[in-house]
């Protein structure tokens, strides 16, 4: 088996405007500078998010070099999967570009059509085998309460997909606001118990999206394997 690539991504699930701590757009910019794309899903109530919330969602994704989507709670699960998958494809495409004689801003598009399938096949393989590190950042502030059960099932579903991949993964979850008096909280539970743990949280407080994103960057940067050796062991930085 080839030593896989290591891919990191942050996925923020929110429904509104931050109102505490650092500006999330600036934090997202910081993440992007460190090579971590920040994707944002705006969860809608009856099809609306409000202009301010919408602007923030777009702002974070653009600054974070990621994608954004607005979705109904009932389609959250599907959106989470699509985004995770698509982000992996983009990262792989960037890292593999040089191998195909392209610079990192060129994509498969620049090749003649007949040559694309073989590149696409190699990408598909790399996405399957890569070591994937996802940091979920979940807004559990009051307005998200009616959508909580959807969030719980979407997380459970994501774990299902991640564990069905051939490549290894690491999943971290930051929830905010923190029920225990802090601002944000890093949930340290095994992936299979993660969904139920989120279901049990009863948070009260503000919406500190910025600090939550900052903790996500810190989490991904600490103890992060830099590479996976041929024998499967991981090489840690520092």
């Amino acid at each position: 088996m080839r030593g896989g690539e290591v891919m990191q991504q942050i996925l923020l699930i929110t429904d509104g405007c931050s109102n505490e701590g650092a500006d999330p757009v600036k934090v997202a910019l910081l993440a992007a500078r460190q090579g971590i794309p920040v994707n944002v899903i705006g969860v809608l109530d009856d099809g609306v998010l409000g202009e301010k919330g919408e602007r923030e969602v777009i702002g974070i994704a653009v600054a974070g070099n990621g994608m954004y989507r607005f979705t109904k709670a009932s389609e959250l699960s599907k959106t989470v999967q699509l985004m995770t998958q698509h982000t992996m494809e983009i990262s792989i495409q960037r890292t593999m570009a040089s191998r195909w004689g392209m610079n990192e801003f060129q994509t498969v598009d620049s090749l003649p059509p007949e040559l694309r399938p073989s590149v696409a096949r190699e990408m598909e393989h790399a996405v399957e085998y890569a070591f994937l590190e996802v940091c979920l950042v979940i807004d559990l502030s009051g307005s998200m309460n009616p959508k909580r059960s959807y969030v719980v099932e979407a997380v459970r579903d994501l774990v299902h997909t991640l564990s069905s991949r051939t490549g290894e993964y690491r999943l971290d979850t930051i929830v905010f606001p923190d029920a225990g008096g802090g601002i944000v909280k890093h949930l340290k539970v095994p992936a299979i118990r993660l969904a139920d743990a989120i279901g049990k949280i009863d948070p009260q407080g503000n919406t500190p999206t910025g600090p939550a994103l900052a903790l996500a960057i810190q989490t991904l940067k600490s103890g992060v394997p830099k590479d996976i050796r041929q024998d499967g062991s991981r090489v840690y930085a520092g």
């Binding site: 994704a61 009932s74 498969v108 598009d109 696409a120 598909e124 069905s164 969904a195």
Partner: protein
């Protein structure tokens, strides 16, 4: 992120292939897949279907896989022709051209033919899936929207290959209510049973659709709750049709391979040929007796009417 053109609003426009220089007139939209939109297109006085997308990599992979399978003896998908790019409002889009298959969608077909046609349909689809498995692929996102009943041959054909996944890797595309992991019956890994599971669910829903409220409720429940709800659903289905039992066994993983599934379905059908299905229109002794007495009674009335003159019978004197 702002895009100048919408992929689903291209009907009426003309595109020119950047590499092959052919001109295509987009007549009307035929359908929408996960990674592209399909149009009916006219080129050199012939009709084709054309799938257009922004994702060059995914589209080229779908094209290649369809091309590989369109040489099969019983082609599971439409024949594909060229893969090309087009410029639309200054931006690049990617497309491929395929055979235009005229036909009905699965729900229309079943509502026209009746549910009696379902077992045969499932057997034919199982064969198509088998041809994919033999070449190391799983279809993945099997659902009624991805099946077309060919007008000319009367046989089903799979029309979207975007979800076709190599065996042993994570399933690329799926739809919750046909997905094994959603119902708590296994991983989201591409194996033969993954396709069989979707096939069984599709068959079951053709007999007895699940209403959208139940569906919405299940989206918010854990897979354990869904699993229980599913066994209840199949219990009710079984009372209506014997096929329900075979389908439930498939869902539970009793049949892991397509051959086992087809075999069970065929046996089941043989049995039902002898025992009359409940609820279907059938005539037993009482029905015939009733019909007979009605006929006797009617003919008696008519003869009395003729014999007694035309008015005398109904006029009280």
């Amino acid at each position: 992120m702002g895009r100048a053109f919408m992929l689903d609003k291209l009907a009426g426009r003309t595109i020119i292939g950047r590499w092959k220089r052919r001109t295509y007139q987009l007549v009307r939209m035929l359908g929408q897949g996960e990674n592209g939109v399909v149009y009916l297109t006219a080129c050199d006085d012939a009709y084709f279907a054309l799938k257009i997308s922004r994702d060059a990599a995914a589209l080229s992979l779908e094209w290649e896989r369809m091309r590989e399978f369109s040489h099969a003896l019983v082609a599971p998908c439409p024949k594909v022709y060229e893969l090309d790019d087009a410029e639309l409002d200054g931006q690049c889009a990617h497309f491929f051209v395929m055979e235009y298959v005229e036909g009905r969608n699965l729900r229309q077909y079943v509502s026209h033919q009746g549910v009696e046609a379902v077992p045969d349909l499932l057997l034919q689809l199982a064969n198509l899936l088998h041809s994919l498995h033999e070449r190391g692929f799983v279809y993945g996102d099997l659902k009624p929207e991805n099946v077309l009943m060919h007008k000319a041959t009367g046989k089903p054909i799979l029309i979207d290959f975007g979800g076709v996944t190599p065996l042993g890797t994570v399933v690329k595309e799926f739809t919750e209510i046909y997905d094994r992991a959603f119902w708590g019956w296994g991983m989201r890994k591409a194996d033969e049973h993954y396709d069989l599971f979707s096939l069984a669910m599709m068959g079951a829903f053709l007999y007895r659709p699940m209403n959208s409220r139940t569906r919405e409720k299940l989206m918010q429940s854990s897979p354990d709750v869904r699993k229980t709800a599913l066994s209840r659903y199949f219990q009710q289905l079984h009372e209506r049709s014997g096929v329900g039992r075979t389908l439930y066994f498939t869902v539970c993983g009793k049949f892991q391979r397509v051959e086992e599934f087809s075999e069970a379905l065929k046996n089941q059908r043989k049995q039902t040929a002898f025992t009359k299905p409940k609820g279907a229109i059938s005539w037993d002794v009482t029905d015939w007796g009733l019909l007979f007495s009605i006929l006797v009674f009617t003919s008696a009335i008519i003869s009395i009417w003729f014999l007694g003159g035309h008015q005398s019978l109904f006029v009280i004197q």
